[in-house]
Amino acid sequence: MFALSDLPLLEHSLVQSLNDPAAGALVTFEGRVRQQNQGRAVTRLEYEGAELLAANEFQSIEAEACQRFDITQLHCVHRTGMLEIGEIAVWIGVLAPHRGPAFDACRYLIDELKKRLPIWKKEYYADGDSGWINAP
């Protein structure tokens, strides 16, 4: 399951979406807004996402993960809008019978998500400057 969210992400409600009595392992990844990036002091971030396109592309990534790794359930939410330092930008949780595939699938999901999902980050800096990351 994948969603974009305009509202702050709360770990305890996210983790409650993952339940399976056959699962022995839950691995979660949480990306948080850091106070600096590449040596520049960051004051906040803005994320923009292409909702339907992102959902479609995530379905492909999810199908790949389920084919490659023995996992039972997964959940991913990415923030949009303005985020302060320390806020959760992205949350991924993977349930599996055993821990190896849970770790591998979670890492696969975040790596592919960062490469493929149509989501953009704009950083606002302490010096008043701002800019889209990776902008050509």
């Binding site: 292409a50 479609n56 990415h78 930008a89 992205v90 149509p118 989501i119 953009w120 889209w132 050509p136």
Partner: protein
């Protein structure tokens, strides 16, 4: 042909709007982008950009049909 064009992130800011409906005779997605890039001062190099048609990624070589929703995708930076 009439299509709906969506710009995201840096392209949206450069164009000054998110969505517009346009008339075009461009032969394909690449040609359509090149027209708009020339007109609105968007980046002229397409190899960093992607394009989607009706919420699915597409190839710059693809053609498109009247009524399609076309989105131009700058380099992503989620996560």
């Amino acid at each position: 042909m009439q299509v709906e064009v969506t710009y995201y992130a840096m392209l949206r800011e450069r164009r000054g709007l998110s969505v517009e409906t346009i008339q075009t005779e461009a032969a394909g997605l690449g040609a359509l982008y090149d027209d708009l890039a020339g007109k609105y001062g968007l980046p002229t190099e397409r190899h960093h950009l992607k394009v989607a048609v009706n919420d699915q990624f597409a190839s710059w070589e693809n053609s498109f049909a009247s009524g399609d929703r076309i989105a131009f995708i700058p380099p992503v930076s989620g996560g």
